[in-house]
């Protein structure tokens, strides 16, 4: 197993004045999908925001390629190789598809790679992002992260509000990212989809890691997954 490209050690993250993530340590390896699961309010998005610099890391270290980044401003983390696909399809709506990619382009990032990965976007190069469908907007946000030549891409609930067929299309794109040697840290509401593409999984409960192991361990064991999510085995009525 290769060395992790992104490592969190004893990380605490605040949302406002309140500490939401407590003492989390995790590793993200290159060329693999690492999955973060957990119930609503478990602290998953705060964890991602903390890594990206949108929420303050109050204790612990976040290391990207061996460089401590927890004190860097958000844009410097991005330039260091951290891509972030935020929730809610955050395209620049007044810019065209091509301009959305252009403003984020860095290093060896190439819009041609994005258009190869998402031929749907190639046909809409000159269209304002606000006029794209929900699925296309999400593809554009993933593409925009890719064109910045990232080492790691954080993806937060990209399936939110999208049709199942579009979600499956996006999951295939995540696998393609991994094929390019990029490490992916994925939060996903559809746990089974995430576990299908993931190598390692972490489950968060109330801001703490309560499970850390291979995805294969959770994939076929819904009782274990339920217990990790909620801290107790499913009742008889829940298993029915």
């Amino acid at each position: 197993m290769s060395d992790p490209i992104l490592s969190l050690t004893g990380v605490h993250i605040n949302r406002g004045e309140v500490e939401v993530v407590h003492d989390v340590s995790l590793d993200v390896t290159p060329g693999a999908v690492t999955v973060v699961l957990g119930a609503n309010g478990a602290g998953k998005t705060t964890l991602m925001d903390g890594i990206a610099g949108l929420a303050p890391v109050t204790k612990g270290t976040v290391s990207l390629g061996g460089q401590a980044i927890e004190r860097l401003p958000t844009y410097k983390r991005a330039l260091a190789g951290l891509g972030y696909v935020e929730q809610a399809r955050t395209t620049f709506r007044t810019l065209t598809v091509e301009q959305n990619l252009l403003v984020a382009q860095a290093g060896k990032g190439d819009p041609a790679t994005v258009f190869r990965l998402f031929p749907e976007l190639d046909k809409r190069r000159g269209l304002q992002a606000g006029h794209l469908s929900g699925g296309e907007q999400q593809m554009l946000v993933v593409g925009r992260a890719l064109v910045a030549d990232p080492k790691v891409v954080l993806i937060d609930e990209m399936s939110l509000g999208l049709a199942p067929v579009v979600v499956q299309r996006l999951m295939r794109a995540v696998v393609d990212l991994v094929g390019l040697g990029i490490a992916v840290l994925l939060i996903e509401q559809f746990a089974h989809l995430a576990l299908d593409v993931g190598a390692n999984a972490y489950v968060l409960r109330k801001g703490r890691v309560v499970f850390d192991g291979p995805c294969s361990q959770l994939r076929g064991d819904s009782a274990l997954l339920h217990e990790a999510y909620f801290g107790q085995a499913p009742t008889e009525s829940e298993t029915r």
Binding site: T74, Y75, E86, T94, L95, V103, A104, R144, A148
Partner: protein
């Protein structure tokens, strides 16, 4: 009447420029900047003070523009560092507080009308041409030309250059712009610097006509805000037209003896009318949810 309207066009070009600065600050860094004219006035007074001390106008002007830019950048950095996560209302309130402070300090440093107004150079007073019996001074052409140049130049910058696209991205989604690696603080301060320098040039242009009083020049922000409202804080061409219209309105009001002394009320009337006009279709909930 026609003479007054043409005279109003001189101010109109300047009002358009001030309105454009307000719209640009709002569009690019999401701040309604009440200090803009005051920063420009500081720059203009630094220039004229240096000229009084013996420096030539061409040397004093860049120094004054740099002073206006530096003051504007100082406010910009404070907003970027301490208020970037606050809403627009808070940021606007901060600029109001700073505006009051700049006016108070400026009056003490540079004096008021009664304690010694400065004499600004007026290189564009000569007539450019005559239409019928109306003499059009060079100042009309210079201010209108400058306003058109800024409108076209900024529109091209925003749509045709990478830095312009990044500024648009920053104005639309400041957080996401940083997430994709756009150096938001640096760009934002760049905008503040440019606005400070342009404001200084605009104030230098209008000062000979309005008199060398610091408070009068700093208070031009009320006109600038009215002009920005005509452009809905968004459209550069509409703001340009709004500025010219405002100048003509003021000129026309100045030519009627009965309402001459109330000409200064024109910007506020325009604001009231626009507020009423734009909210006339709103239902109760929308109108009261602000």
């Amino acid at each position: 009447m026609l003479n007054s309207v043409v005279a109003g066009l001189t101010s109109g070009g300047v009002y358009a420029l001030l309105g454009l600065c307000v719209v640009l600050t709002y569009r690019l860094v999401a701040v309604v900047n009440f200090t803009m004219a005051a920063c420009g006035a500081v720059g203009a007074f630094v220039m004229v003070t240096l000229m009084d001390a013996g420096l030539t106008g061409w040397l004093a002007l860049p120094v004054g523009a740099a002073a206006g830019a530096a003051l504007s950048a100082l406010l910009g950095s404070a907003l970027v560092s301490w208020f970037s996560q606050h809403d627009e209302r808070t940021k606007a309130a901060v600029t109001v507080a700073v505006y009051v402070a700049i006016i108070a300090i400026g009056l003490r440093l540079f004096g008021s009308n009664t304690t010694g107004a400065h004499r600004f150079p007026s290189p564009f007073d000569a007539p450019a041409f005559t239409v019928g019996s109306v003499v059009v001074p060079q100042a009309v052409l210079v201010s209108m030309g400058f306003a058109v140049l800024i409108t076209v130049g900024v529109s091209l910058l925003l749509s045709k250059t990478l830095i312009g696209l990044r500024l648009q991205a920053l104005s639309e989604r400041p957080t996401t712009a940083q997430v994709v690696g756009i150096p938001a603080p640096r760009l934002a301060i760049g905008v503040w610097v440019a606005i400070g320098a342009i404001s200084t040039l605009v104030i230098v242009l209008v000062a000979p006509r309005l008199g060398g009083d610091f408070a009068t020049l700093g208070n031009l922000i009320s006109t600038a805000l009215a002009v920005a409202m005509i452009g809905a804080f968004r459209s550069l061409p509409l703001t340009l037209v709004g500025g010219l219209l405002m100048g003509c309105l003021e000129g026309a009001a100045g030519s009627v003896a009965e309402i001459q002394k109330y000409a200064g009320v024109v910007p506020f009337l325009v604001m009231l009318v626009l507020l009423w006009w734009r909210s006339r279709g709103e239902v109760w909930d929308t109108a009261h949810s602000r």
